[in-house]
Symmetry: C2
Subunit: 242 residues, 2 copies
DNA sequence: CGGACTGTTGATTCGAATCAAAACCGGTGG
DNA sequence: CCACCGGTTTTGATTCGAATCAACAGTCCG
């Protein structure tokens, strides 16, 4: 099972990075402590000083901040193979929460070990750095999304992004994918009220752009959805040469 | 003058990182090509593949994206000592624009040279990585700001952030600092119309929180402004131990 | 002096929040 | 197997913050 955990990481890294055989072996040699969490559990909380990073092997996770009046703003949605708190390697205090959305299989890797790997394999270090930079790029697009796009294209953009990212790791079948978020979760992602999320989803359905059945999304017309969202996948840097 | 350019970088890096004498010497030995730009000039454009990074030695710069309908969303405001396009070291295609706001003194450093420095001085590499992670953290807070805070606290938060960051590099005198943005620029930062920015600034003045005189901001009551903005500087990671 | 930004003001519109209440599950236990 | 419960989803009515539209005043600069 330990091998499986590292495997999801390798799959994800290989999407955006050139890894050679030695890199892969070095990653597979990592000591990964498996931990299974239920839905809606905190992995690391704002203000903590973790000494390990968390590899998300299965399930979905959120990074989020909570404002003084109790509103939650989701900052990013994480999918299998990602290390959502990789930044903790160099930023000692967590400035946000990391929590599961669905039941998750997690793998914890000590900072010490990751630092050693980075020293010994500069190519892997570069790949990790690049992953954090892609993260950053996704945040930038997220800013544009919440600051500028009206509710309908805003939601369309999120769906287009999740579809593209899930497809890169093989978690879609022809426009369909599971995205087990409640409408309230979508609201927290997009800065919209639950009521409005509901109306926006109805609109997307009435336009025959998507269907949703119990967290199973089906994008009926990828091109039109992307057009509506003005979605351009460049910012995801899915190709190592981009 | 070349020395001066690297010096601004060292000053800035030293705020958030532990650098030893050899690190400093190595950075000072970098070949930096100076270039002076006027206000509102593009440094690197969306879609380009730069082969150098740009050190901002003097002046203010914006990173921004432009939406299909021509609206500009500013993603970050950059101040002297920063390398706003450091991510281009690992993300080959620019996914946004980088442009001057005021006249700027820039120093260009070839990617090749930075990569060599990173290989030879892992501690400097870690500092650069950390700088990009702080960037990321600032984006996260920016998301919360534009997605959740009403216009007045939103503006207050931006002012509190700029005050804190400028203070760290010695560019404030007791609550006062130059921030040469037009109200239209503020609108592009905050996702607000120019008209509303104007009204928000009036409100902050009427509350005796700030005064503004020709781009010279004076924060009259730092505590109250931060309270209003629910500003907590942790996310800036200004201390190397945070 | 004139022109072009930049800042200011007022009137109106509009998108999304809020409030309130139903309807719709999926699971639990009697 | 059905009644019930909590969490979701849906619907409708109303309010509110910020955009938009339209002028107008300042200020800088050639």
């Amino acid at each position: 099972m330990l091998q499986n955990l590292a495997t999801s990481l390798i799959t994800k890294l290989a999407v955006s990075n050139h890894l050679d055989g030695d890199d892969v072996r070095a990653i597979q040699a990592l000591q990964v402590r498996q931990r299974n969490l239920g839905p809606r559990e905190t992995i690391v909380a704002d203000g903590e000083r973790p000494d390990a990073c968390c590899l998300l092997a299965e399930g979905f996770a959120f990074r989020s901040k909570t404002t003084a009046n109790g509103e939650r703003q989701v900052l990013s949605v994480h999918i299998p193979g990602e290390i959502p708190d990789l930044q903790s390697l160099h930023l000692k205090i967590m400035d946000h929460d990391l929590a599961t959305v669905t039941p998750c299989v997690l793998g914890f890797i000590d900072h010490e070990q990751l630092k050693k790997l980075n020293r010994e394999r500069p190519n892997v270090a570069a790949a990790f750095w690049r992953e954090t930079l892609i993260d950053s790029s996704i945040f930038r697009e997220w800013i544009v999304n919440v600051a500028r796009r009206p509710a309908v294209p805003r939601m369309a953009h999120l769906l287009a992004e999740m579809h593209t990212r899930l497809r890169a790791i093989g978690l879609t079948r022809d426009g369909q994918f599971g995205l087990p978020l409640t409408q309230s979760d979508f609201g927290d992602c997009l800065g919209l009220s639950t009521v409005h999320v509901n109306r926006v989803l109805q609109h997307l359905r009435s336009e025959e752009l998507i269907t949703v059945k119990r967290s199973e999304f089906h994008i009926l017309d990828v091109r039109r959805l992307k057009e509506l969202a003005e979605f351009d996948a460049t910012y995801l840097h899915l190709d190592p040469d981009i």
